[in-house]
């Protein structure tokens, strides 16, 4: 039996003693909070005025956890003498976070920048049914959507597409409105 050589055992004691004196890494959660990375996929926020009820997110969702209903309305023309606009109006936009796998496909496929990731994570519920967030709840998350962060050296400049739009996510003006 390889016993009797003390050094290994003593060294171990030394390491634990050193660790004990080093101080803890614990974050006392409700009292102090760590900020998750801006990219963290915490919760999906909905910018309702951008949504055109195109159903793309609901279709691409691997879990079938997005439920959308809408109807069409006629709006008066923007300019004098213009065409009467047909507008899709969102009636229901629910994401069931009890099913969601947080893959981010919906956010990615949205062609009108209506969905965004927010790093917010404090929305656990005692009842699983409450994890179904409706469009009002999803809209509230928009406040927590961070700005687009700069990229690492050597990265290509983000093209004028979605990346920039995300940076402006919080601005009030709808980019493409609800027109079809």
């Amino acid at each position: 039996m390889p016993r009797g050589k003390l050094p290994g055992l003593v060294e171990g004691l030394g390491v634990t003693l050193r660790t004990m004196l080093q101080g803890a890494v614990t974050v006392q959660y409700p009292h102090e909070r760590e900020d998750p990375a801006p990219r963290a996929r915490g919760v999906i926020a909905l910018k309702e005025e951008n949504c055109t009820v195109c159903m793309l997110c609901a279709r691409k969702c691997p879990d079938w956890c997005i439920y959308i209903e809408g109807h069409k309305e006629q709006r008066p023309p923007r300019r004098e003498g213009g065409r009467v606009r047909n507008v899709s109006v969102l009636d229901r936009f629910d994401i069931d976070y009890a099913l969601c796998m947080y893959c981010g496909i919906c956010v990615e496929v949205c062609p009108f920048d209506a969905l965004f990731w927010s790093p917010e994570y404090e929305y656990c519920e005692p009842s699983i049914a409450n994890l179904l967030h409706d469009r009002v709840r999803l809209g509230e998350w928009m406040r927590t959507v961070p700005e687009q962060e700069p990229l690492e050296a050597g990265a290509e400049a983000p093209d004028a597409g979605k990346a920039k739009a995300k940076g402006r996510a919080r601005s009030a003006t709808p980019r493409r409105g609800g027109d079809t």
Partner: protein
């Protein structure tokens, strides 16, 4: 443990009652202190954690008390096929053995519940009573993990009684008495080559004995690296696996209470116990408690430090260690001590 009952002349009945109350109060308190200091705080910090911080406000001092209250509220669950009576008695047997050890540990010249002439012998004998309770618990649980744990515990405790005793024999030989009080006095009044500045703590000559005692008591307490009877990753919790509520609380109190008792024994036998060399009389009675507490905490620190650092041995390796290494060393120590005793 106040000096009150010694100052007032009361009937023996009252003295007995007071002594009982003191012992009954000290054991859970001891378990709390050790559990909080080492299990909750020292271990946490060794693992880069803080441990409980909220209960009670200051560093979670109330956590274990709260746990205890929680255990008391819990339902008393018994396995369907358990041997109900044995199952119920087992924790009590274990905890009683802990209580009995405390009886002989002196905390001052007069502060001792019962100063037995066979004190050391008694302490080690009653401490091993717990194995009966452990076996009862393991058997009565009607659970294979519990049974395996209990059998391991039995084998282990029997194997480690011997080195434990041998470790103490050296001290007994040197002190010339088995009375714990006598051993403390021998250390207090002793002198190193004529210099009595710090008395003569036996650790100076019996350091091998102290090492043996610590290793063996670690095994007696079923602490890592000898915690096979409760081995979490193998036997889940060994003989305790079916226990909940206040019965589990009993085991918990017994575990840390016994750790406290062994630390106190080690402090008494090797570090001079309550004694401060130049303090005598009532002053020693007053100082004895904190002095002993400080010494035993030092010993307990080492015991738990080892517990939270090392992996666990295998049962056969543990037996081999006991019979092939510790016992020969212990015997040699006794012989050498005897020779020195006769020669000087």
């Amino acid at each position: 443990m106040s000096a009150l009952h010694l100052a007032v002349d009361v009937g023996w009945g009252w003295t007995l009652a007071l002594k009982t109350v003191v012992v009954l109060a000290v054991v859970p308190l001891a378990a709390l202190v050790l559990g909080y200091t080492f299990l909750l705080k020292m271990m946490s910090h060794m693992q880069s954690r803080l441990g409980p911080m909220d209960p009670g406000g200051f560093h979670g001092w109330f956590q274990l008390v709260g746990d205890g209250i929680k255990f008391l509220q819990k339902e008393d669950v018994m396995p369907l096929h358990a041997d109900r009576r044995v199952f119920a008695i087992a924790p009590a047997v274990v905890v009683v053995s802990t209580f009995l050890v405390f009886v002989v540990i002196p905390t001052g010249p007069k502060l001792v519940v019962e100063s037995l002439d066979v004190g050391v012998f008694y302490a080690l004998a009653v401490s091993s009573l717990s194995v009966v309770g452990v076996l009862m618990a393991g058997w009565a649980s009607a659970n294979k993990f519990a049974l395996l744990g209990a059998l391991r515990a039995a084998a282990q405790l029997i194997a480690y009684e011997l080195p434990l005793l041998l470790a103490v024999v050296g001290v007994v030989v040197q002190a010339g008495t088995m009375n714990l009080q006598g051993i403390v006095h021998a250390q207090q009044d002793g002198a190193i080559f004529g210099w009595g500045g710090i008395g003569f703590p036996f650790v100076l000559t019996q350091f091998i004995g102290l090492g043996l005692f610590l290793v063996a008591s670690q095994a007696e307490l079923t602490q890592t690296p000898f915690d096979m009877p409760v081995a979490e990753s193998e036997l889940v919790a060994g003989y305790m696996v079916e226990y909940t509520g206040f019965r589990f609380l009993f085991f918990f109190i017994a575990e840390f209470g016994t750790a406290f008792a062994f630390a106190a024994l080690a402090a008494t036998l090797f570090l001079g116990g309550w004694a401060v060399p130049w303090v005598h009389g009532t002053a020693a009675d007053v100082l004895g408690v904190p002095v002993l507490f400080a010494k035993l905490m030092l010993v307990a620190f080492v015991m738990f430090w080892v517990r939270f650092t090392y992996p666990r041995l295998r049962e056969d390796q543990l037996q081999a260690l006991a019979w092939k290494v510790l016992i020969p060393i212990g015997l040699a120590n006794v012989v050498v001590t005897g020779i020195f005793k006769v020669a000087f």
